[in-house]
């Protein structure tokens, strides 16, 4: 017979939920400031500073000072923009990294949902369903050896 300890399940589910909420807020700003409720006046979310097209002085960010564009490096006839190819590649990698973090956050969220569900499953009637779902998720999202 399965054994459930409600408090450890709930505690872990809450820790995960709090972390995934934070990630979601950073990556999916909604309304208000550019970064949701994140205090954009004091600092950018950590991942925003990872862009190469950045505000150098992000500690003093204002609404007008957001990002550079490739045009900021446009050379005159006696100049050259050496790292243009790097910027182009990097931008793709940076966006891919953001998506990978968002995906991982969503995957963690499913883990949290499952723990919550188990916390409510005192009679273990849902065991088979929960087991099947986690097995399916493991199979579809496991990157293998």
């Amino acid at each position: 017979m399965p054994k459930y300890d409600e408090s450890s399940l709930t505690e872990a589910a809450q820790s995960i939920s709090s972390a995934t909420d934070e990630t979601h807020e950073h990556y999916n700003p909604a309304g208000g400031s550019q970064y949701g409720s994140w205090p954009a006046s004091t600092t950018l979310p950590a991942h925003e500073r990872m862009s190469l097209l950045l505000v150098k002085d992000f500690e003093a960010l204002t609404d007008q000072e957001t990002y550079q564009t490739l045009d900021d490096f446009k050379p005159e006839s006696w100049q050259i923009f050496l790292t243009k190819d790097f910027f182009t590649t990097f931008e793709t990698v940076y966006r891919a990294a953001e998506k990978a973090v968002e995906t991982t956050s969503q995957q963690a969220e499913y883990g949290g949902y499952g723990l919550d569900r188990m916390a409510l499953n005192a009679k273990a009637v849902e065991d088979k369903n929960i087991t099947a779902i986690f097995n399916a998720l493991d199979k579809t999202q496991n990157r293998g050896g």
Partner: protein, 205 residues
């Protein structure tokens, strides 16, 4: 924070003058090495690592595995280890490698710009000295110009070697970050609408 390395005015005039007629191949980079420093530091920032690691609250998960038993817990444990926990670990390591590639670009840009400034300063000194001969009555403008162009050729040759070194670092860094992108794409591609539909079944409704 360090200032962006810029070309001093007199050297900029020199480059403008000799590139305008095609005598000089060198071009001053508009790139800002600080972009690479700030971004490189951020990819290895403790705050980024903490934010990622919070997605895998190890102590709380450990307690769950110690205090609970059954097939659902076993399935959760396997999923957690194989998917989110593994992704967090891999992403944390990967971000450090991207950081190293960016900081290598920062160092290469600084080295290239500084070498260019040093070599341009030497070239300017030579050209200034060479130009002094123009004031002498027996000077030959054509010969003076020829000597200047020859010296610019020597400068360009040295610059080409420095530029090749810079480009080699850039090729390595691009290759390194492309390698990391494979991990990111691999994580994302598994999260299909069907996988999401399966995961959503875990919400209480």
């Amino acid at each position: 924070m360090a200032e962006t390395i810029t070309l001093p005015g007199d050297l900029a005039d020199l480059v403008k003058r000799w590139t305008s007629d095609g005598a000089m191949k060198f071009r001053w980079p508009t790139d800002d090495e600080i972009n690479f420093k700030v971004s490189g530091d951020s990819w290895n920032d403790r705050e980024v690592e903490v934010e990622l690691n919070e997605l895998n609250p190890e102590d709380a998960i450990k307690k769950v595995l110690q205090k609970n038993e059954g097939p659902a817990i076993d399935a959760f444990a396997k999923y957690w280890r194989d998917v989110p926990a593994r992704n967090v670990t891999d992403l944390t390591r990967s971000f450090k490698r991207v950081s190293a590639a960016l900081l290598a670009m920062n160092a290469a840009l600084i080295a290239y710009k500084n070498a260019a400034i040093k070599n341009l300063s030497e070239l300017k000194k030579y050209l200034d000295d060479n130009q002094k001969w123009a004031w002498l009555p027996w000077s030959d403008d054509g010969a003076i110009h020829k000597r200047a162009v020859a010296m610019i050729g020597v400068f360009d040759l040295a610059d080409q070697a420095n530029l090749a070194n810079f480009r080699a670092t850039m090729a390595n860094s691009i290759s390194a970050i492309k390698q990391e992108a494979k991990l990111y794409d691999d994580i994302v591609k598994r999260f299909t609408p069907d996988a999401a539909k399966t995961g959503d079944k875990l919400t209480d409704e």
